[in-house]
């Protein structure tokens, strides 16, 4: 269950990250349409809510909440570092 909720958190944070124009462009080399950004944002929020709900359902409100927030923070770092790692592998890309 922890792995599932962490996967939800990672996907959710990545979606939120890609809802930002700069990161979307970094990854796909195109400008995202506003509707695409909005749907990514919605998708990400739903997944994060799923992560919180899943943790709270299995471990109780208090401990589940702590675990969910921890997983989301870690997922944010994974998304940020992962994107940077991807960028570092594309030399010559305009910064």
């Amino acid at each position: 269950m922890n792995l599932i909720t962490f996967a939800l958190a990672c996907t959710g944070m990545l979606a939120l990250c890609l809802a930002m124009t700069r990161h979307y462009r970094d990854l796909f080399n195109t400008h995202p349409a506003p509707s695409r950004r909005a749907s990514l944002r919605l998708f990400g929020s739903v997944l994060l809510a799923g992560c919180i709900a899943g943790n709270m359902a299995t471990q109780g409100m208090a401990i589940g909440g702590v675990v969910a927030i921890g997983q989301i923070m870690l997922a944010g770092l994974v998304a940020g570092l992962g994107l940077a790692w991807k960028m570092a592998r594309q030399p010559g890309a305009p910064r």
Binding site: A62, M73, G76
Partner: protein, 509 residues
């Protein structure tokens, strides 16, 4: 804009000056998430699969009576658990206040060889092994951390726009600033909560004036009332015949309908007023339960059940949130990884300071660089050296813990000396230190294999996954640091230091 400027100065200097101390605190706190696992790793006698427990509290009381002649103020015992499968005993002598501790193998009642254990990192985390003074220094550093966090939020102009931004190909200062922001901002809830709750643990000691006035200068009266606990003053009369403490524990189990018992505390055992308090162990909630049962040590009569006021329960909840003894390993894994993010925030922050001033040749550059190397490399290397020392120092040595402490301090002094001697060749210095870390990390599971019969990776992976995890994290750390040492001369060297440092600290597991 005036506020932002003022906060910038505060953030730069209020962050830089305590940063090395904060690194020690955060890094050892990260290791202390797994203090019990490290402690077990450092006691090879406990690497065998857990067997039937034959020892109880009465046997420990007997051992104490046979081996410690001075009258005791109190002693406390904790039974074997999954994470710490051995009996722990601590005591305080009445006249001198000297404290001692011992550990026993529950399978045969033998006293285990002394080791600093994982507790070494825990104590380093909260008082730097400097007692009351160290506790105040750590508290001050924690308050500086809170200040730096809040001022950091104020001066960050693009806190949401740059939320995920890390541009490794940008120039050095920009890349380090991105890294500082990434680790700081995404981990912010964790850093804030842990800094706040960390300071809150000893709040009564940091601000004692109110309690001292209200309780006529008697802090113990304050603590006793605040905890809703039970206390009986000494009668200065000879003790009777103590009842079996194991029997009292059985009674407490019946009372709570649980098998999980925490610390058992015996107060002034050599006086007629002696009481035995039994505490409940409940990792299923954040704040530990505050409903200790107090028994008369000679009649076995239940005298009191602790009724903690809600303020104290709120305080215990904050402490519990900091200590991460709830919710299983997932919480500790998350805390340790986010703790590493805190370490990275400090490392990156100091590098921003350096990069910004390198061109100007500001004064203090050499000092900051030397301190960075000595602390950011010194502490991880010293921690690994302590684990090496643990395996190589013979278990029959009388002052074994002192020898272990010297392996830690000696390694750190050597790294400091090395940092001073090689400060003119920073690239070579970084490379060498990564190589040392790599060798120490990779070598440890091998040493473990050669020096223990049941504790090596091949044996523990089946029956003690957390012991195996210690070895696996060592292998991972060692592998990544070695890779960094080989790669450190490539054009990506700047980034490499960031990536690798992150990994050093993963010896947390």
């Amino acid at each position: 804009m005036k506020l932002r400027q003022a906060m910038t100065g505060l953030h730069i200097w209020g962050g830089l000056l305590p940063s090395w101390l904060l690194f020690v605190i955060i890094f050892t706190g990260t290791l202390a998430c797994f203090d019990k696992e490290l402690e077990r790793w450092m006691r090879p006698a406990l690497h065998v699969p857990a067997s039937e427990t034959v020892m109880g509290t009465d046997a420990i009381s007997t051992w104490l009576g046979d081996n410690i002649s001075a009258p005791l103020h109190a002693y406390w015992m904790h039974g074997p658990t999954d994470r710490a499968p051995y009996w722990q005993l601590g005591w305080e002598e009445d006249a001198t206040g000297v404290r001692g501790k011992a550990a026993f193998d529950p399978a045969n009642g033998q006293r285990l060889a002394d080791t600093l254990g994982g507790e070494f990192f825990f104590t380093l985390h909260y008082n730097l092994h400097a007692g009351q003074l160290g506790m105040y220094i750590v508290g001050l550093a924690g308050m500086f951390m809170l200040t730096a966090l809040v001022s950091g939020i104020i001066i960050h102009r693009r806190i949401f726009k740059d939320f995920f931004t890390l541009r490794p190909n940008a120039n050095g200062q920009r890349a380090w600033l991105d890294a500082h922001n990434l680790f700081g901002v995404i981990g912010l809830p964790f850093h804030l909560v842990l800094a706040y709750t960390g300071v809150a643990v000893f709040v009564a000691s940091y601000m004692p004036a109110g309690a001292l006035v209200a309780y006529n200068g008697d802090p113990m009266a304050f603590y006793s009332e605040v905890q809703g606990g039970y206390h009986r003053n000494e009668l200065h009369q000879p003790p009777g015949t103590p009842v079996s403490i194991d029997g009292l524990i059985e009674d407490a189990r019946q009372h709570w309908q649980t098998s999980d018992i925490g610390w058992v505390i015996v107060e002034h055992p050599h006086d007629a007023s002696s009481i035995v308090s039994v505490r409940r162990l409940d990792p299923s909630r954040i704040g530990s339960p505050q409903d200790a049962l107090s028994y008369d040590a000679f009649t076995g009569e239940l005298l009191n059940q602790q009724q903690a006021p809600s303020a104290y329960r709120a305080y215990i909840w904050l402490v519990g949130l900091h200590m991460a003894q709830f919710g299983g390993q997932i919480v500790r894994v998350l805390y340790s990884l986010l703790g590493l993010a805190g370490c990275m925030m400090l490392v990156a922050g100091n590098n921003v300071w350096l990069r910004k001033r390198t061109k100007r040749q500001s004064p203090g550059l050499t000092l900051v660089r030397a301190l960075n190397t000595a602390v950011f490399f010194g502490l991880p290397i010293a921690s690994l050296a302590l684990l090496w020392g643990n395996r190589f120092i013979p278990s029959e040595l009388t002052s074994r813990t002192t020898a272990e402490a010297w392996s830690f301090a000696g390694a750190w002094l050597l790294v400091t000396l090395f940092a001073l001697l090689t400060h003119r060749q920073p690239t070579r210095q970084t490379r060498t230190l990564f190589a040392v870390l790599g060798l120490l990390g990779l070598g440890l599971p091998l040493v473990n294999y050669l020096t223990t019969t049941d504790g090596h990776l091949l044996a523990t992976i089946n029956h003690a996954p957390m012991l195996a995890a210690v070895d696996l994290v060592m292998l991972l750390t060692g592998g990544l640091c070695s890779w960094r040492a080989v790669k450190a001369s490539s054009p990506m060297a700047d980034k490499g230091i960031a990536g690798g440092q992150d990994v050093d600290q993963e010896l947390a597991g």
